[in-house]
């Protein structure tokens, strides 16, 4: 199956600065793809290149099977996008803005226009303020309208650059559940963000970029694979240590008042638990530790930062 987005050796230089450096990105159909990186790490430039707005210095891009920028206009009708904030005419109403946008370019049947606009506004929760001019909107409302614009037509791919920017917690929650719905309907979603929690909760796959370089790209659960340590909570850590000391396959990293942290070394958490219980230790809790995306991110960006001279 051809990937929805594939870049090979994608590089963009602005003078001596490499904004994007040899990035090989692969987004598959059905992914909710998180594109993670600090501000200024090259996320937006990469997305702009994929959408044909910025021309790559070298490397190749394939979007929905078409080579970019040469054939980008052939596949862009199948892509909905929100790049670096919404763009609308300030003096026109939300509804008028969407109508103008929908009438531009190929597709977008006129007969269904008002209905589709109504539906998109409903989905992002702006139906009641649709007659107000864009300039009267708050940042959050403007962001919602940008999303509505991306939802005007059914798309195979949605590219959303920091979609929850400027939204309050309520708005963030709304948008996340909206993205869940869209993904369930079969839309592939690429979501750039510097909010790790956001990617952790809604994405299936993620890429981490830093200073223009791709540091990791994998399924989110694989990026968050168990660290190999287990935390055991018990009333009698002494007994636990004794049992663990008698058996091979693990060694104790840390002991606290009512818990022990153990690194697994050839044994499984299940086996460990069995031994403890057989050895007479009452186990209150046995937790397989997983890194938070934040840890992965910090670990990778520190390493990635070290070998890039600045």
């Amino acid at each position: 199956m051809t990937p929805v987005i594939r870049t090979i050796g994608l590089t963009k230089r602005f003078g001596p600065v490499s904004a994007v450096d040899d990035v090989n990105l692969e987004v598959h159909q059905g992914d909710v793809f998180g594109f993670l990186g600090p501000n200024g790490s090259g996320k937006t430039t990469t997305l702009r290149m994929v959408l044909g707005l910025v021309f790559a210095t070298s490397g190749s891009i394939e979007l929905l099977g078409a080579s970019v920028p040469k054939h980008v206009n052939r596949v862009l009708p199948r892509v909905g996008a929100l790049v670096e904030g919404p763009g609308f005419y300030p003096h026109l109403s939300a509804r008028r803005n969407l109508a103008l946008l929908d009438a531009t370019g190929p597709g977008g049947a006129r007969r269904s226009r008002q209905a589709r606009i109504g539906e998109a506004l409903e989905r992002v929760g702006l139906a009641r303020v649709a007659r107000r001019p864009f300039k009267a909107f708050s940042t959050g409302m403007q962001q919602r309208l940008g999303l509505a614009a991306a939802l005007l037509r059914p798309h195979d791919l949605l590219v959303l650059d920091e979609p929850t920017n400027g939204l309050d917690p309520r708005g963030m929650h709304d948008i996340r559940s909206l993205l869940g719905e869209l993904s369930a309907e079969g839309t592939t979603i690429v979501l750039s963000s510097h909010l790790l929690g956001e990617v952790e909760t809604i994405c299936t796959r993620a890429a981490i970029v830093h200073r223009g370089r791709l540091l990791a790209q994998d399924r989110v659960e694989r990026l968050l694979a168990p660290t190999g340590t287990v935390r055991i909570t018990t009333d009698d850590p002494g007994a636990a240590l004794r049992v663990l000391g008698e058996s091979a396959g693990s060694h104790v990293l840390e002991r606290e008042r009512d818990c022990v942290t153990v690194r697994l070394n050839g044994t499984t958490p299940q086996e460990l638990n069995r031994r403890l219980v057989v050895g007479g230790v009452a186990v209150g809790e046995l937790v397989v530790e997983r890194p938070k995306l934040e840890d992965v991110f910090l670990r990778l960006t520190e390493r990635g930062g070290a070998d890039v001279p600045r």
Binding site: R48, L53, L76, V79, E84, G87, L100, A103
Partner: protein
Amino acid sequence: MFRVELRKLLLRPRTYVMCALLAGLPTIVAIFLKVSGIGPRAGAGPPFLSQVLNNGALFPVAALALILPVFLPIAVSVIAGDAIAGEASSGTLRYLLMRPVGRTKLLFVKLAIVTVFVFLAVIVVAGVGYVVGSTFFGIKPLPSVSGRTIAAQDATWRTFVTVVYIAVSMLGVASVGLFFSTVTDSSLGAALGALAALVTSQVLDLLVAAESVRPYLPTHYWLAFVDLFRYPVLWRNVVRGFAIQGLYVGIFLGLAWANFATKDIES
């Protein structure tokens, strides 16, 4: 695409404010002429203005001659300079291009819209000029510049060609504005760029030392429409005027295209 851009033009209050301002200047001049009864001496001031007191039928053309050197090109520069840069600064350019709208097509449509605006403005000014002229000064058969009287229907087509000529005369400035509009994301900067080009042309046109380049300046033949009111019509400079505008449109639209088609859109 053209229809959408036309709707954008017509939905902007700015379009109407500009037309009102453009029609306002000749109206003020007419009021002064009417109240004082003092016209400029023949040969001084904009063409035909000296004769307007006797014949209001000349006022539409005089009104156009009044706005032609400064007012109209300023309006055209503002609209043309805003064409691409305005979309860039409001953040709508990237969404237009992702619809997708081809970059070349967008440029042509934008130039077409500026042309529509020019025609709109020129027709409004000519129309208001006619109403004002006939109300204040009355309508009589036109004397031609050459002395013979021009018949009414003859005058109609001459006025019509004048409207077309003046509108086309603005296309050179419009393409310069459009070119600057692809270079910068600031509409104001692009408009000022076009105005600078315009002022340069007008200054050089007055400079005897620049004699050799004068026939190639975009503003040189602007007033050649006066020749349309001779008997018989003197086509030579009018045709040259059309040709020069075509040349400038070709050059600057080409430059705009070369720049815009390969430009990174970072707005």
